[in-house]
Amino acid sequence: MTQANSTDPIIIAQDVHKYFGQFHALRGVNMTVQKGEVLVIVGPSGSGKSTFIRTINRLEAHQKGTIIVDGIELKEGSNLDAIRREVGMVFQSFNLFPHLTVLQNVTLAPMQVRKMPKDKANALGMELLERVGISEQAQKFPAQLSGGQQQRVAIARALAMQPKVMLFDEPTSALDPEMVGEVLDVMKTLAKSGMTMLCVTHEMGFAKAVANRVVFFDQGNIVEENTPEGFFNNPQHERTKMFLNQIRHA
C-alpha cells in the first residue's frame, strides 16, 4: 500500500461478498482507504467495480464480510441515513431531480436532513454552484442544462451535505466527449482540496494527475493495486496488461 504509514482509515472493507441471485458479483474484496486518499478504480464491465462502491453507501447490501465507514459498520439495522450523510455519491446518469431547480437540487438535502435554514442553505448552494462554475444557472431546471453542467450540479448537490467521502460511479461515461474535461476539472480541484474520493473511471489523465492509488478489478475482486505511474507504465499482472492494451487501442 502506498500510504502504509498512515493510520487514519475512513473505509475498511474486509472479505466483502455480494450476490445478485446466483451471480457472485463481489468475491471477497479487501480494501482500506485513508482519509484524504484519492482512489481510481478501473476494470472491465461486469468486474464488480461499480457494485463495490455502491456497497460503501449501501445502495447495494453485501451478504458477507464487513464494511466500516467512518467508524460505523454497515449492516442490517445500522443507521444508514447517518452513514449516507457522510458519503456523497455522483452517478453516471446524474440523477438530478427534474422537478426542482438547480439550486433546489443542491439545497434539498441540507434543509431536509441537516435542518439548515433556507437562507443559509441557499447561500451554501450558491457558493457550491460557484465552485463548480455554474452559479448563473441556479434558477434553471436540470433539463435546460448540458450533460456536463448537469454532472457538475450533481457534484455540488453531493458536496452540499459536506460529506467526508465522495463516490464517483463513472461520472463522465454518459457525457459527450467535449464535456468530459469540465467535469474532470471539478473533480481534480476537489481531489486537491483533500477530499477522500473513490472514482470508478477510465480517465487515465485524471488518474495520473490526482490519484494516490489505482485499483484494478476483475471478476469480482481486486487483481492489482498500484501507484498511477506503476499501474499504467509497469503493470504487474497479465490481466492488467491485457486490459490496458484494450483501453489504449479502443
Partner: protein, 276 residues
C-alpha cells in the same frame, strides 16, 4: 395524385356534408317522433315555479348540481388521499402492508359501486353509535355521508393503481439519489418520487375524477337530493321528460368539462421541464 389523401379538401368537404346530413336526419326523426306522440317540448318549464323546492325548476336543478358538486369535491379529495396511501402501500417492502393494500384494491374495484353505496348506507352507517348517526344525518344527511364514503373508497382503489404505476415509472436512479443524500424513505417518497409521479399521472387521475363525478348520480338511489334526483323529480311533476333529461345532461357536462379544464391548467402548470 394520391386518390385517397384524407387531407384532400374535396374529401374533407364531402365528409363534412355527410355529417351535417346525418345530424339533420336525426333531428328530423326526433321531431317526427315527438309529433307522432303528441309531445310538445316546453323549455319554458325551467322558468316555471318548482313544485319540489323554492324558486323555479331551474333553481331546483341548480340546487341539485350544488349537492353533486359538494359530494364530488369532497370525494375527489378523499379518494386522492386514500389512493396515494394505498398506492404507496402496494409497493411497500413490508409484506403485510402490501397484502392489505392489494386486498383493499381488489375488493373495492371488483364489487359494483351501487352495492357499495347500499353497503355503507344500510350496513356500516347503521352500526355507528346512535349519537354519531344523528349528528352526521342532521349535518350532512345520511345518504350523502354514505355516498361520499362509497365514492371515495371505490374510486381510491382505481387511483391507487394509477399512483402505483406512476411511482414505478420514476427511474430507479431518483430513489438512489435520495437515499445517497441521506434522506429518509419518507422524505425521498414525499419530496422526490411523489411530486414526479403525480405529474405523470394527472391525465389518468382526471379520468377517475370524471368517473367519480358522474358516478355520484347513483346517490339518487338513496334519495340524496343531487342533480339526477332533482332532475327526475322535475320530470315527474312537469311531465317534461326530454327537457328534464336535457337539463340533467347539461349539468353533468358543465361539471365534467370544468374538471377537465382545471386539470389541463394544472397539467400545463406542473409539466416537468424535461417533457416540454
Amino acid at each position: 395524385m394520391n386518390s385517397f389523401n384524407p387531407k384532400n379538401p374535396v374529401i374533407q368537404s364531402l365528409f363534412g356534408a355527410f355529417l351535417i346530413a346525418l345530424v339533420g336526419v336525426l333531428v328530423w326523426q326526433i321531431s317526427q317522433g315527438l309529433k307522432a306522440n303528441n309531445i310538445v317540448l316546453d323549455w319554458g318549464v325551467l322558468g316555471q315555479p318548482s313544485q319540489i323546492t323554492s324558486g323555479s325548476n331551474l333553481t331546483t336543478i341548480l340546487l341539485g348540481m350544488w349537492l353533486t358538486i359538494r359530494i364530488a369535491l369532497v370525494s375527489i379529495i378523499l379518494a386522492l388521499l386514500l389512493g396515494i396511501v394505498v398506492g404507496v402501500s402496494r409497493l411497500s417492502s413490508n409484506t403485510v402492508v402490501r397484502l392489505v393494500a392489494t386486498a383493499y384494491v381488489e375488493f373495492f374495484r371488483n364489487t359494483p359501486l351501487l352495492v357499495q353505496i347500499f353497503f355503507w348506507y344500510f350496513g356500516v352507517f347503521n352500526l355507528l353509535p346512535k349519537v354519531v348517526q344523528d349528528s352526521l344525518d342532521t349535518q350532512f344527511g345520511a345518504p350523502t355521508v354514505a355516498v361520499v364514503a362509497a365514492l371515495s373508497i371505490y374510486t381510491s382503489s382505481y387511483i391507487a393503481e394509477t399512483i402505483r404505476a406512476g411511482i414505478q415509472s420514476i427511474p430507479k436512479g431518483q430513489f438512489e439519489a435520495g437515499d445517497s443524500l441521506g434522506l429518509s424513505g419518507f422524505q425521498t417518497l414525499g419530496l422526490i418520487i411523489l411530486p414526479q409521479a403525480l405529474r405523470v399521472v394527472i391525465p389518468p387521475l382526471g379520468n377517475q375524477f370524471l368517473n367519480l363525478t358522474k358516478n355520484s348520480s347513483l346517490a339518487s338511489q338513496l334519495g340524496a337530493q343531487e342533480l339526477f334526483y332533482y332532475g327526475i323529480q322535475m320530470q315527474s311533476y312537469s311531465g317534461q321528460g326530454f327537457v328534464s333529461i336535457s337539463a340533467i345532461t347539461l349539468g353533468y357536462l358543465v361539471m365534467s368539462l370544468s374538471i377537465t379544464a382545471i386539470l389541463t391548467l394544472i397539467n400545463n402548470r406542473f409539466a416537468l421541464a424535461v417533457r416540454k
